[in-house]
């Protein structure tokens, strides 16, 4: 055993306190550390980039289409109503079987949602026909010629034989005229599904389609983004400034003044913002400025409360008390200690307020108190889209995606910021 060890290794060399206390991590300032942790948070960073894209597009989007095609948010073109982003002249409609055929005693049983057409026969013989490429039809998208498909049926025909006849007739038309796009009939449940063959092409002049007045949705979306973001940013900014002043005074002075100021906030907060908002907007004429004012009037209380809480907490913190005992001036304490240290929660609060403002704006537009026509905001676009959602889903879905993405991104970014700015989570 003794050969394993070198006797020289058994000599006192004393403590190595430096090594024991060595801190291996580099020291970072509060903001550096917060930035580092935010950057690590992939979800928050993704949200940040999404927001950046959305905001950039709101700025340049309308300029692009104006220069390329001359679209503005208000230019109407009634010849180009309700276009979709992907245009198509293919159509697919499903007709209820008893709209097309007469039944004798073989009434389909809808209640069980199970219909057997096996033995269905027509009550009376006659003609069945369909018009294809009818310019008067609502989903007409540019066929050059109208075709008519007609078959004769007799009372011995069954469902299947009728469909076969229809398909044969379609094939005959196609053989006769190569311009005819082709048609197919199929039975599906208790309906007859008719599909015409057609091309699909990207709507090259209206990238996101058009609305009911033929206005370009791409332009309107980003124009709406400008208004929505503008309203949100300006109202959050002013709200925060006012909230910081109000909450700061209340928290810093404390005592009786704090009591009174906070009681006022408490009373105002009892009533949900929406009531005030609606009430105020009925008094003012709708527009960007009144909406912003309304959102500011109803939004500052939360910020004021948060700031007051922070200031109260910091005021009694040891380092501020220490600074006071050392004779630091009020100004110095406020600007060097209170504001920088309260900044974290304030920034998080601002981030979380923005989606709330966008939401509030959308809500107001929805109940008809938003920006007046022909201006667009995301809320008013969604409102218009919701009305004709069933025919043209894209008119709702496009602004809906924009709103949801923005809310999504701001909420996630806010969460990330909160985690990054919370000193308790520093590792």
């Amino acid at each position: 055993m003794n050969t394993e060890f070198d006797k020289n290794e058994f000599k006192h060399i004393g403590k190595n306190l430096k090594a024991s206390q060595e801190i291996k991590r580099p020291s970072l300032s509060y903001w550096q550390d917060a930035y580092r942790r935010l950057k690590k948070n992939k979800v928050a960073m993704l949200s940040f980039w999404i927001l950046l894209v959305l905001i950039t597009m709101s700025i340049i989007g309308p300029i692009i289409t104006k220069n390329l095609y001359g679209h503005t948010y208000e230019s109407q073109n009634l010849a180009e109503q309700n276009q979709t982003p992907i245009m198509s002249n293919a159509r697919s409609i499903s007709l209820l079987a008893n709209d097309v055929f007469d039944y004798d005693k073989h009434v389909p049983n809808y209640r069980k949602n199970k219909t057997t057409f096996k033995n269905v026969r027509l009550k009376s013989p006659g003609k069945i026909g369909f018009k294809i490429g009818n310019a008067a039809d609502e989903s007409w998208q540019g066929d050059k010629k109208e075709y008519e498909l007609m078959i004769e049926v007799s009372s011995t025909d069954t469902w299947n034989s009728i469909i076969e006849k229809l398909n044969n007739e379609g094939q005959r038309l196609l053989n006769e005229d190569p311009d005819f796009r082709g048609i197919s009939f199929e039975k599906k449940g208790n309906s007859l599904v008719i599909k015409t063959v057609g091309q699909k092409w990207f709507n090259s002049t209206h990238w996101f389609g058009t609305d009911e007045f033929g206005r370009d949705l791409f332009t309107r979306l980003w124009e709406g983004g400008r208004i929505s973001f503008f309203i949100a940013f300006i109202s959050v900014f002013i709200t925060s400034v006012f909230g910081i002043i109000y909450g700061g005074i209340s928290g810093y002075i404390g005592g009786r003044i704090d009591d009174i100021l906070m009681r006022i906030v408490e009373i105002l907060m009892t009533v949900p913002d929406m009531l005030y908002t609606i009430l105020l907007l009925t008094v003012m004429d709708p527009g960007i400025k009144p909406i912003s004012i309304v959102l500011i009037v109803t939004g500052w209380m939360g910020t004021a409360r948060i700031v007051r809480g922070e200031v109260m907490r910091l005021k009694h913190s040891e380092y501020v008390v220490a600074a006071k005992t050392l004779g630091a001036s009020t100004k110095k304490i406020v600007f060097q200690h209170l504001i920088p240290n309260a900044m974290g929660p304030i920034i998080v609060n601002m981030t979380m307020m923005i989606p709330k403002m966008i939401f509030a704006e959308a809500f107001l537009s929805f109940i008809g108190l938003g920006v007046p026509v022909p201006y667009a905001s995301w809320g008013s676009l969604a409102n218009q889209g919701a009305k004709i959602f069933r025919q043209f889903p894209h008119q709702l879905l496009i602004p809906a995606i924009a709103i949801s993405l923005t809310m999504f991104a701001f909420n996630l970014l806010g969460d990330g910021l909160r985690d990054a700015l919370d000193p308790r989570l520093r590792k």
């Binding site: 009373i267 009892t270 009533v271 949900p272 929406m274 009531l275 609606i278 009430l279 105020l280 907007l281 009925t282 008094v283 989606p355 939401f359 959308a362 809500f363 929805f366 109940i367 008809g368 108190l369 809320g379 969604a382 409102n383 889209g385 919701a386 959602f389 069933r390 889903p393 709702l396 809906a400 709103i403 949801s404 809310m407 999504f408 909420n411 996630l412």
Partner: protein, 309 residues
């Protein structure tokens, strides 16, 4: 405790008074009144003004309005002549309430379940799934969610009616739309509070007793984690009430919210004021009830007799 309740009641009345006064001032700060339609003859306009008491000086109107308010009389509607605001509220509010309480139940039940499941599976698939649901819930406003739900489940799949009629099932889609954001809020909060409770020492104590995971959750976690949720039920109920304004419009419910929206565009002052005050009173009451209830539920507050903050 009694003193606390009395104090809160007093506070509630003060708030209500502030709100009704504010509403009154706002309504009368308008440059025009409901009868500025140029097509009206001056005599007719004057007669209408007299009928609705608008010819009197504003302070006198205020006193009259407040006196009537105390009696529960909110005046007569202008848009629906001959119908008192109270009647209209009494008729339409139950329809809103039918949506409201269903939405509250959906939000609370599913929100709590989702939150607990997320916390118990912290940083696993189920947790992320419920976070996603929660974030989607707060990120998609009801003005978008409503039409989309109506389209897919109502029109495309045909599972539920798109407009509200007498049937129970027709209330499902609007209630769900209304519940969604509250559901998300509750599940998020519940997740946080459950995680907090799970980290408490008394959970270790319960584990050291040999209780199974389920027993720990049922007996020790749930009750403590739900406590903070109770405090937000009041504001949540308020959010549901205002939220129903949108939902009623989407699903064509002739509830109070729908009336509210239409009176705004019609500038029907007695209606606007009446409904605002009614909403405010409802919200204040619900917050009050929840706060008092909380004092009874939490043993720490119950014994010491100090409620609230």
């Amino acid at each position: 405790m009694l003193k606390y309740i009395l104090k809160r009641l007093l506070m509630a009345f003060a708030t209500l008074w502030v709100i009704s006064t504010l509403t009154f001032i706002l309504m009368h700060a308008l440059p025009n009144d409901p009868f500025t339609d140029p097509k009206l003859k001056p005599e007719v306009r004057q007669a209408l003004r007299v009928k609705y008491g608008l010819d009197k000086p504003v302070p006198e109107q205020y006193v009259i309005y407040m006196k009537n308010l105390l009696k529960g009389d909110l005046g007569t509607s202008i848009k629906y002549p001959g119908r008192s605001v109270t009647d209209i509220i009494a008729e339409s509010f139950p329809k809103s309430f039918a949506l409201g309480w269903r939405a509250l139940v959906i939000a609370v039940v599913f929100g709590l379940i989702l939150g607990v499941i997320a916390a118990l599976n912290h940083q696993k698939t189920l947790d992320y799934l419920s976070i996603i649901i929660a974030i989607v819930g707060v990120s998609i406003p009801s003005i978008i969610l409503g039409p989309i739900l109506a389209y897919f489940f109502g029109v495309k799949l045909g599972w539920f009616p798109v407009t509200v009629d007498k049937t129970q099932i027709s209330l499902f889609l609007p209630s769900l739309t209304l519940a969604m954001s509250s559901l998300a809020t509750i599940s998020r909060l519940m997740r946080t509070t459950t995680l907090e409770v799970l980290g408490q020492d008394y959970i270790s104590t319960a584990k050291a007793k040999g209780l199974s995971k389920l027993q720990i959750v049922l007996r020790h976690v749930l009750r403590n984690a739900v406590m903070p949720i109770i405090t937000i039920l009041g504001p949540l109920f308020a959010a549901l009430i205002t939220g129903s304004i949108v939902v009623e419009k989407i699903f064509a419910v002739a509830g109070l919210g729908e009336y509210f929206v239409s009176t705004i565009t019609e500038q029907d002052y007695p209606m606007i004021m009446g409904i605002t005050i009614f909403y405010a009173a409802l919200i204040i009451l619900s917050i009050l009830v929840v706060d008092i209830l909380y004092g009874f539920i939490d043993p720490r507050l119950r014994i010491s007799g100090k409620g609230g903050k």
